[in-house]
């Protein structure tokens, strides 16, 4: 692995960037083989770091240090088959690698691939994806700025600063059709232009990395696998809107992401890419990491801002929107990790290139985290407009053990369950909303026919209940009441009138809660009642309990 201190480089100009890229590539070319092992959270949880150490030790033991480079890289996507190891230049990927497999892998350099470990690359999981956000994930060492630069990194920032005006940058983002990837799908360009127009000496850029949906790990993987990409996107945004300070609000439960982000920020600062006079221009930009303490509601932008300011993380009514009155009362641009990760490629390749991908209203790609009853658990990036069927059955490999598809839950606790009849629907912001679900940040949980949809609804309601901040009444107590009513349905103790009450509460929360958490909390209930009403009805009991019991005396 490249020593972190060797990452003290300086890039003041385009020439420097090109030189660093060249040097990095040259350094790579010194080796005959590169053994890349995923060291993102999914594979690390399956001991990939031990495998990496064993590989390094074995390379040294065999005296191959000058020929074989062992390096940790970011997420390769197919977490279900981890730990994943790729041997370049042949690009052979091995799955479920253990420490015991290390000698065989090194033997393979001379003797040909280790057949029993090979993960074929011609399967739909890899072939059907289109990578923009994840283009470097699993390829470069996330702890080496040189590798990011060698992969074309920071060229977009350089281009923006030296060849474009801020309004031209915004124009490119607007015309690309990029929409916020945090869930709502608000047009990014529109947000940027609002902040740019706000009159203030001081403005801020915030990257929302408080990813909290159950089963979602898109932002985590991007931060762990390619942190510089987010930094570059934020710096471009800062230039475009007139901000000189950025914050990355990341949950403390992502220690590896935090570590890599802080290292990346340090490297960028050393290189002159962050700090005063970025690329020797007059543009200053600094980034600070702020840790969230695990409250889901802090993903809501006004709560997030309160938390950065050191106050209790609760939302406040909007307007005023953060674009107008945000961090410390100043105009603030907030986008999520994946949104920022799209910025550099858009600037690099132009808006037309990006706008050609996806559907009419939803451009580009979307990263999804596949989880639940699916063969290929993992991280994927697909063009908007791909069908759910392709995602679940082609890329995801379908359900394990021949089980039957029942629904896929998207959008986390704010989303809904999409039943079989919509499997051929193209996935974008609008279509998901039409069927009562929500894009959300990109978690997809696949369920088979053994799943009780009432229990699924109750699970998400419990999540919303425990994550409610408690500020507004309908959310604080309404989620509790809905949870209790759902528990009664699950236990087969609820009556029709209680079910009606559940529906009424759902309507109340959707219309009266202060922030998106409460407003969207009933969505899993509403969508499961829409598509799986029978499962609710079959559990109901008579209104007056045992009213039909023989009338007796008291």
């Amino acid at each position: 692995m490249v020593k972190k201190t060797s990452q003290r480089i300086s890039v003041a100009s385009l020439d420097d960037l090109v030189n660093v890229a060249g040097a990095s590539q040259e350094q790579e070319q010194q080796y005959r083989y590169h053994i890349c092992i995923c060291v993102a959270a999914g594979c690390i949880s399956q001991n990939s770091d031990a495998v990496r150490d064993a590989l390094i030790a074995e390379v040294e033991a065999r005296g191959l240090e000058d020929e074989v480079q062992v390096k940790g890289v970011g997420c390769m996507g197919l977490c279900a088959a981890g730990p994943l190891v790729r041997v370049d230049p042949d690009g052979i990927v091995y799955q479920s690698v253990t420490v015991d497999d290390v000698p065989a892998i090194l033997d393979s350099l001379e003797n040909g691939p280790v057949e029993k470990l090979i993960l074929p690359q011609d399967i739909p999981f890899f072939e059907r994806q289109q990578k923009i956000v994840l283009e470097n994930c699993g390829i470069i060492d996330p702890e080496a700025i040189t590798e990011y630069i060698a992969a074309g990194g920071y060229l977009a920032l350089h281009k923006a600063l030296t060849e474009m005006t801020p309004s031209e940058v915004i124009d490119v983002v607007t015309r690309s059709g990029l929409r916020g990837r945090g869930g709502g799908g608000y047009p990014a360009g529109l947000k940027w232009v609002t902040v740019a127009k706000a009159e203030s000496e001081t403005k801020y850029v915030i990257c929302n990395a408080d990813e909290g949906d159950p089963g979602a790990f898109m932002d985590r993987s991007v931060l762990e696998s390619d942190p510089h990409r987010v930094i570059e996107g934020m710096a471009i945004a800062g230039y475009a809107v007139g901000a000189n300070k950025g914050y990355i609000y990341v949950r403390a439960e992502y220690p590896l992401a935090v570590e890599r982000l802080e290292l990346a920020i340090k490297q960028a600062r050393w290189a002159g890419i962050l700090g005063n006079g970025v690329f020797s221009t007059t543009f200053d930009f600094a980034i600070e990491v702020r840790l969230g303490a695990g409250a889901f509601v802090c993903g809501e932008e006004t709560a997030l801002i309160a938390s950065i300011e050191g106050r209790r993380g609760v939302p406040r009514p909007r307007p005023p929107y953060p674009a107008d009155y945000g961090l410390w009362g100043q105009p603030t641009l907030i986008n999520n990790v994946e949104t920022f990760a799209n910025v550099a490629p858009i600037i690099r390749n132009g808006s037309d290139w990006f706008a050609e991908i996806g559907t009419e209203k939803s451009k580009g790609t979307k990263v999804f985290a596949l989880a639940g009853q699916i063969v290929n658990t993992g991280l994927i990036e697909v063009p908007m407009g791909i069908t759910l069927r392709e995602i679940v059955f082609d890329i995801g490999g379908g359900l394990p053990d021949g089980r039957n598809y029942k629904a896929v839950q998207t959008g986390g606790p704010s989303g809904g369950c999409v039943p079989e009849q919509f499997l051929d629907m193209p996935v974008d912001y609008e279509s998901l909303r039409e069927v009562g679900s929500f894009m959300g940040s990109g978690g997809m949980i696949v369920m088979d026919d053994s799943s009780s949809m009432v229990e699924v609804a109750r699970y998400f309601m419990e999540f919303s209940m425990t994550e409610s901040c408690g500020k507004c009444i309908p959310c604080r107590t309404g989620t509790r009441q809905m949870y209790d009513l759902l528990s009664k349905v699950v236990a087969g103790e609820a009556s029709q009138s209680e079910l009606n009450l559940l529906v009424e509460l759902g309507d109340l929360l959707q219309n009266t809660c202060l922030c998106g958490l409460g407003k969207a909390a009933p969505n899993p209930v509403v969508s499961t009642m829409q598509y799986f009403e029978d499962e609710y009805l079959e559990r109901l009991v008579d209104d007056n309990g045992s009213a039909d019991e023989p009338a007796g005396e008291s």
Partner: protein
């Protein structure tokens, strides 16, 4: 015209609502010839009739006997009136709900007993785990809040029912704790 049959009873309550009912005073005479009180602590009738037009119930549902009784009443009654905060909202009887049954019985029958400390096992009906208002176990047609509801409110309620109407404006006459 046949008289309206009326039943009244109390479950877990203090009988204060019935006192307030009696506070209707001379207006009782006005309604007396329109109703037939078929079951009530105020009359000597041991069994609840098979068919009753209106039942006015005071008190929360606290014991197995209460539960049995309110279900029986519901099944034999056309219009069921929850009278007073205990019947409507649980009120004071439900303040025990944060404690377990065992804790309650310990305090009442063991810790504060001067002789023969033991949990009652017969005669006294078993407590439900939680005391609940009437509408949590049966459907209620009219809710009359108040602790107790004023005599005026009760008179208004009965007068409306006798006129063949379900009183819809009761919150203009009374409120919780009134």
């Amino acid at each position: 015209m046949s008289k309206v049959t009326l039943a009244t009873t109390w479950l877990d309550g203090c009988s204060g609502c019935h006192m307030s009912l009696l506070d209707i005073d001379e207006r009782l005479i006005d309604i007396a010839d329109k109703i037939d009180v078929v079951y009530s602590p105020l009359v000597d009738m041991k069994e609840y009739p098979e068919q009753v037009d209106v039942a006015i119930v005071e008190g929360a549902v606290s014991s197995e006997e209460d539960l049995h009784k309110i279900r029986m009443i519901r099944s034999r009654t056309k219009i069921l009136v929850a009278l007073g905060d205990c019947a409507v909202a649980g009120n004071i009887p439900t303040m025990r709900n944060k404690f377990s049954r065992e804790e309650l019985l310990d305090v009442a029958y063991i810790k504060s007993a001067t002789e023969n400390p033991q949990h009652p096992s017969e005669v006294i009906p078993a407590l439900l785990p939680k005391a609940v208002p009437l509408h949590e176990v049966v459907d209620i047609d009219v809710f009359v809040q108040g602790c107790p509801p004023s005599a005026d409110t009760i008179f208004h309620t009965i007068a409306e029912l006798l006129a063949g109407r379900i009183p819809a404006d009761l919150t203009e006459h009374t409120r919780p704790g009134a």
